[in-house]
């Protein structure tokens, strides 16, 4: 018989042991390499990271990146959710638009990156636009599915009470499509980070992507690793926050303990 406390400790152990081993190896192994210039020991990198944080350099880049990704994601969400709800509701339009959407959705962001540069240059607008583009489609497609998957029986039940279109939308369609919309949000957020780095490598004054690329070119390998590590941390934090939000907003769902 395990106590709750014990099983919680065990979970923590399970989750951290492999990472700790990898980091330990990373701390030790490079010391035995003839030339560890491309793979500096982990602890040395941590020291550099600490210096970069203290000098404010890392903060500057991080903030620039988060701002860019955040603005791009916000614009994409603000456009994709209403459009998705509209297209999901008026299924007739979707039949016309579906081929186009399928084509655009399958177009990799990197493929059309040059097009964005051509039209918008390599400034801030172009970088935000490419993030918007990347985030828009996953959110759109998921929102459409969400609306189309609202149980028609629920819609009829609501209608039978003489519910107005506005209330129907607010009390049935929005909450009924919530799970799909949140999935779209999670996807879009991770794509925002992905596209961000690519866009920043195109050229920027600040930003993690720019920083990683720049220090690689300048052969400041430790600083480059710092950028990569921070990028990983950002990814994990964003994902965790969204997962929290998801489970809070869908508390009413059978999480499968009944099966």
């Amino acid at each position: 018989m395990e106590t709750k406390e014990q099983s919680r400790l065990f979970t923590a152990y399970q989750k951290s042991v492999v990472i700790i081993l990898v980091l330990a190896a990373w701390s030790v192994f490079p010391h035995f390499m003839k030339n560890n210039m491309f793979l500096p020991p982990f602890l040395d990198i941590m020291q550099t990271l600490w210096e970069m944080v203290r000098s404010g350099e890392m903060g500057k880049h991080l903030l620039a990146s988060l701002r860019r990704a955040g603005i791009g994601l916000a614009i994409a969400e603000a456009a994709a959710i209403p459009v998705g709800i509209g297209l999901g509701w008026f299924a007739r339009f979707e039949n016309y638009l579906d081929p186009l959407l399928t084509a655009l959705r399958n177009l990799s962001v990197l493929t059309i990156l040059p097009l964005f540069v051509l039209f918008l240059g390599i400034g801030e607008v172009s970088k935000t636009a490419i993030i918007v583009w990347g985030c828009f489609f996953p959110q759109l497609v998921n929102t459409i599915s969400g609306v189309k998957n609202v149980d028609p029986v629920l819609i009829q039940s609501a209608r039978s009470m003489g519910m107005s279109n506005f209330s129907l939308f607010q009390k049935v369609i929005l909450p009924g499509s919530m799970t799909y919309t949140l999935t779209g949000f999670r996807l879009s957020a991770s794509i925002a980070l992905l596209v961000l780095v690519g866009a920043e490598m195109l050229g920027a004054d600040f930003g993690l992507g720019h920083m990683i690329f720049h220090y690689q070119q300048a052969f400041l390998i430790k600083k480059m690793y710092c950028g990569i590590l921070v990028m990983i941390i950002v990814g994990v934090v964003v994902n965790t926050l969204i997962a929290r939000l998801e489970s809070r907003l869908t508390i009413w769902q059978d999480k499968g303990n009944a099966h």
Binding site: W89, A91, K148, D151, P152, V153, L154, I155, Q156, S157, A158, R159, S160, M161, G162, M163, S167, K171, V172, P175, G176, M178, T250, I251, W252, Q253, D254, A258
Partner: protein, 298 residues
């Protein structure tokens, strides 16, 4: 045209709760394979009169249009012909004077039980505290007080159906429309729910139109049982169930009067049932999901 019928409607005697006159319904069906549009006559010349406070059961072979008729009464489907009245006024669409209880419970999974029961009251514009008070009252009436703050997934089928009933009762409609509400629960639970429904009906004085497949259920519950013909459905005959009340299931069902009424309804279904499957078969090669999603968007 509409004006004329509503004048007729106003002139209608109002001791009847629900009146249907010569109601017909034709579904337009789009075939996926074949290009041409086809139609399916689901209801033809349906006439019924339901008294205030009456328990009225509707039985008929599968596919004869029982659900269709109930949905028309609820205002969810527009009839193709004929006229329908509630309290002497023509029915134009859904409203809070009728409450429909569907076989699939139709509880909103993201709302707690209490919030589910409050939904009709929200539409009605009732204030928050008042809503809560009324909802808790009806949840108590169906015996599920301790579940008020739970979510639907935590309830069994029978409990969900009781909540669906509580929800319909909460906004105080004159008529409850029930579409095979107890088809998905086991025999014992069904009997409990029967007793409970009769108790609630006697207490609240609602008019109930109850669609069912089960002859036993219809005869046990109803004041009158209307037997429908196979597709296109119409009312074949209405059988008076003069069994007296209150009814206790264990006792009534073993009486001779019960078996005779039961047999009578069975007979009526029997010699109308020969073509029972023809109607259901007619729509079989059409895409049902498409049809359903279309009607949902109406």
């Amino acid at each position: 045209m509409a004006k004329q019928t509503s004048i007729q409607g106003a002139a209608l005697e109002t001791d009847k709760r629900i009146v249907a006159k010569d109601v017909g319904l034709v579904y337009k069906i789009r075939s996926r394979r074949k290009k041409e549009n086809r139609t399916l006559t689901a209801l033809e010349h349906v006439d019924i009169e339901v008294n205030k406070g009456e328990f009225y059961a509707l039985v008929g072979p599968s596919g004869c249009g029982k659900s269709t008729f109930l949905y028309i009464l609820a205002g969810l489907i527009k009839k193709t012909s004929g006229a329908l009245y509630i309290n002497g006024h023509e029915i134009h669409g859904p409203d809070l004077d009728r409450g429909i209880i569907m076989q699939q419970y139709a509880l909103f999974p993201w709302r707690t039980i209490r919030k589910n029961v409050e939904l009709g009251l929200e539409v009605k514009g009732v204030k928050k505290e008042e809503r809560e008070r009324i909802a808790l009252g009806f949840i108590d009436l169906v015996g599920l007080s301790e579940f008020a703050d739970r979510y639907p997934y935590e309830l069994s089928g029978g409990m969900k159906q009781r909540i669906a009933i509580a929800r319909a009762l909460a906004y105080d409609p004159d008529v409850l429309l029930m579409d095979e509400p107890f088809a998905a629960v086991d025999e014992q639970t069904r009997e409990t729910l029967h007793d409970e429904l009769l108790r609630i009906w006697e207490k609240t004085n609602k008019t109930i139109i109850f669609v069912t497949h089960s002859i036993d259920e219809a005869v046990f519950l109803a004041d009158r049982v209307a037997v429908m013909t196979p597709s296109p459905g119409s009312i074949k005959e209405v059988v008076d169930i003069n069994l007296g009340r209150p009814r206790v299931s264990g006792h009534i069902k073993s009486t001779q009067a019960f078996s005779m009424l039961r047999h009578r309804v069975w007979e009526l279904l029997q010699n109308s049932g020969e073509t029972a499957d023809a109607g259901a078969g007619a729509a079989a090669d059409f895409d049902v999901s498409e049809v359903i999603s279309e009607s949902a968007v109406l």
